[in-house]
């Protein structure tokens, strides 16, 4: 019975959306806002990756909101899962085999380096703070899987999360004080395609990279702690 009602509702929604979608041609060249960003993106912001300039410069407020959402999820997870004292685990943790252990320890700094490369070059190549942060978090997950019993330090992750967000807001406020608009690009734009270009964009992406990396790692850490 429930399935029939569900299917009926979905059918109505599907018909409505299909009618609306026939008005949106697939693959048509974009006018207005899309064109403007692609045409004027490089001279106005200095970043050659137009998606980065949209994310951090034209629509930087959305990115601030997104950073906040991830922050809320981390805190919420911590608030729901605190079981008071950190229980010492009673189960014996079997150490991983030598190959796995050594391999993980060997790969860990390489993956960290790769993640750092991705978020530092966010304005030149595809990538950016969020992608780089996710890669850094996957390095920490590797450590959890391969070298049992090691944990990230809570102090360090708290520091990284708070500082990352605070740097983003402070850069915006400095832009407000210096240039009259929140999040205006007030540093020199440099030569396009070089590492030190695009004003505030690399700074914000570095802050976001550290923040997202530490947040995702601490989410995994709390979930792992819950099951041990």
């Amino acid at each position: 019975m429930r399935k029939i009602i569900g299917l009926l509702l979905l059918g109505i929604v599907a018909w409505g959306i299909a009618v609306s979608l026939t008005r949106i041609p697939f693959g048509a060249p974009k006018t207005k806002v899309g064109r403007y960003y692609v045409d004027k993106g490089v001279p106005e912001t200095g970043a050659t990756n137009i998606v980065t300039s949209v994310v951090l410069n034209y629509r930087g407020f959305d990115t601030l909101g997104e950073v906040t959402v991830l922050f809320i999820a981390t805190i919420g997870l911590g608030a729901v899962l605190t079981t008071g004292r950190r229980k010492k685990s009673e189960r014996k943790i079997e150490p991983a085999s030598l190959i796995l252990y050594t391999g993980c320890r060997f790969l860990f700094p390489l993956i960290l380096l790769f993640g750092t490369y991705i978020f530092i070059h966010g304005h030149l190549t595809p990538g950016g703070g969020f992608q780089g942060g996710a890669i850094i978090a996957s390095a920490f997950v590797l450590i959890y899987l391969g070298c049992r019993g090691r944990r990230i330090s809570e102090l360090g992750s708290k520091l990284a999360e708070s500082l990352g967000g605070l740097i983003f807001v402070i850069v915006g406020l400095v832009g407000l004080a210096v240039g009259g608009y929140f999040l205006i690009n007030f540093l020199p734009k440099g030569i396009p395609n070089s590492l030190f270009s695009a004003g505030i964009i690399p700074i914000i992406y570095i802050a976001i990279g550290f923040k997202v990396g530490s947040e995702l790692s601490s989410i995994i850490d709390k979930l792992v702690e819950e099951t041990e």
Partner: protein, 507 residues
């Protein structure tokens, strides 16, 4: 003149800074939300004279409006942000004592304790401040995807706060709330995607300017998706199944914020989409009927409740129905009445939940029958509860009276026979509301007496200050509604006059 961006940026920065402050001293953390909200309140009130003449349009990033995100601080935005700051400030003062940590205590029954939880409480304060930041962002923004992002900030922090105590009821309600809210958010995102595909821009004024260039049927689907998605948070009739559970299982200070701010911001989002972005005059009658249905369902469900917080939650649903009814009439009186009802409901419902919080803590139960004799045990709190209840029903001289009066007058001014019938049904709903509130007041004052009447256990000072201030505000605005009618009239004309909005953003 202060830049309205600071209304969002300063609380956000302070929320990020709370853990850093916690390294220095953990006692200071709970004072940051009141400080941030005090700042917001002062800035909002100081901007009111400026926005009455001309809305302040601020672009983020320094680019011209359709190519960037802009904030539109008009009369509606500043009015809502003032309400959010005021209620947020008062509830955060209440929470100074209500939410306290307990270290390593033996088994605490977290079922009906107030916000007692092992460990530090910095997470509560961070989530609380971020909820209010999200709410302020929703009301100030002028870009529809930005509306979605700040709306998500509001919703996700409320999911986490409902489950904050970690007890059975809280976690179950939070899961159900989360699932329904997440479906709603995905529907909003589909609607935003369709709007972008049709118009090529995400700026609300830009979409509003071009809304007539496409056929009505292709605009209808994004409108329905947006109303349905935003309506989950706004507690419109078939979408509010999460509300009674969530508002009754949360800690009382959070119930006050959810009922007093979160659902009103949901209604704001729905109204902004319908009035400004789409200008959809053809669905106003549907809104009126939907509002009436919500009102009747809410009030009738509240009548049969025994659990006080569930009763107040159903009463919130009823009041939201009344507000949608008023806004749906789309005349000047109607919209002013609806906005006034939002102010009245915010203040009164927050007062009711704050008063009830300590009553529940003293008696250890949420059943109405256990509040017998509370009039003697907690005289200030019971008096505050009574005033809040009378204000919600609409008795003079409290703030509920001018707002309901304006709504009735708006319906009569419409002149059609249909509205006479509808307003009669609304008044029937008000009668039911009066019935169940009088029943509670009767239990508070006129029953009981077996318990020792000399034992006065009043709530602590930190809880009494916000209760007193709310009571004073309810009486003062009720007696002098002229204090707020100035800004309410400008706000109503901002909603009803789309062309003016588009002109002020895009020139």
């Amino acid at each position: 003149m202060v830049n309205p961006v600071l209304l969002i940026a300063v609380p956000l920065g302070l929320a990020f800074a709370i853990p850093l402050l916690g390294f220095i001293s953990q006692k200071l953390e709970k004072y940051i939300p009141p400080v941030a909200m005090l700042f917001n309140l002062i800035v909002s009130l100081s901007l009111i004279p400026k926005v009455l003449e001309q809305p302040i349009v601020v672009s983020i990033g320094g680019f011209p409006p359709p190519f960037c995100i802009n904030l539109v601080a008009g009369p509606v935005g500043i009015l809502f942000s003032a309400i959010i700051a005021l209620v947020g400030l008062l509830v955060s003062i209440y929470a100074l004592d209500y939410i306290h940590p307990v270290r390593h205590s033996p088994r605490i029954d977290t079922k009906l304790s107030n916000g007692v939880k092992e460990g530090a409480t910095e997470k509560y304060h961070m989530l609380y401040l971020l909820l209010l930041t999200g709410a302020t962002g929703v009301v100030l923004t002028g870009d529809i995807f930005n509306l979605f992002v700040f709306f998500e900030i509001l919703c996700i922090s409320s999911y986490a706060l409902v489950a904050y105590l970690g007890d059975r009821a809280g976690v179950e309600s939070a899961v159900k709330y989360l699932i329904q809210g997440a479906i709603g958010s995905s529907l909003v995102l589909i609607g935003v995607g369709l709007l972008y595909g049709l118009f090529g821009t995400l700026n609300m004024a830009d979409i509003a300017r071009n809304i007539d260039s496409v056929s009505p049927i292709s605009v209808f689907v994004p409108l329905v998706l947006l109303i349905t998605g935003l309506g989950v948070e706004a507690a419109i009739f078939p979408l509010n199944a999460w509300l009674p559970d969530a508002h009754s299982s949360a800690p009382s200070s959070i119930s006050a914020i959810l009922s007093g701010i979160a659902i009103e911001v949901g209604i704001y989002a729905v109204a902004r989409v319908i009035f400004t972005v789409f200008g959809a005059s053809s669905i106003f009658l549907f809104l009126v009927l939907l509002g009436l249905l919500t009102l009747l369902v809410g009030e009738m469900s509240a009548f049969s409740q025994n659990n006080i917080k569930r009763l107040l939650a159903y009463s919130s649903i009823g009041q939201m129905g009344l507000i949608i009814f008023a806004l749906g009439m789309a005349t000047s009186y109607g919209v002013v009445g609806g906005l006034f009802q939002i102010i009245s409901h915010s203040l009164s419902k927050a007062l009711l939940f704050l008063a009830v919080g300590y009553m529940i803590y003293r008696t250890g139960s949420m059943e109405i029958s256990s509040f017998e004799g509370m009039g003697k045990r907690m005289p200030f709190t019971s008096l505050a509860f009574t005033i809040g209840a009378f204000s919600l029903v609409g008795l003079p001289p409290f703030v509920g009276f001018p707002s309901k009066f304006l709504i009735v007058r708006a319906a009569l001014a419409k002149g059609e026979a249909l509205f006479i019938v509808l307003i009669a049904l609304v008044l029937a709903g008000t009668v039911i509301e009066g019935a169940y509130f009088f029943r509670i007041v009767q239990v508070l004052y006129f029953k009981g007496g077996e318990t020792n009447p000399n034992r006065r256990e009043e709530a602590p000072i930190a809880a009494l200050i916000p209760v007193c201030i709310l009571t004073i505000l309810i009486i003062v605005i009720g007696v002098y509604p002229r204090l707020v009618t100035g800004i309410l009239n400008s706000a109503a004309s901002e909603f009803l006059n789309r062309v003016e909005y588009i002109r002020s953003v895009l020139g």
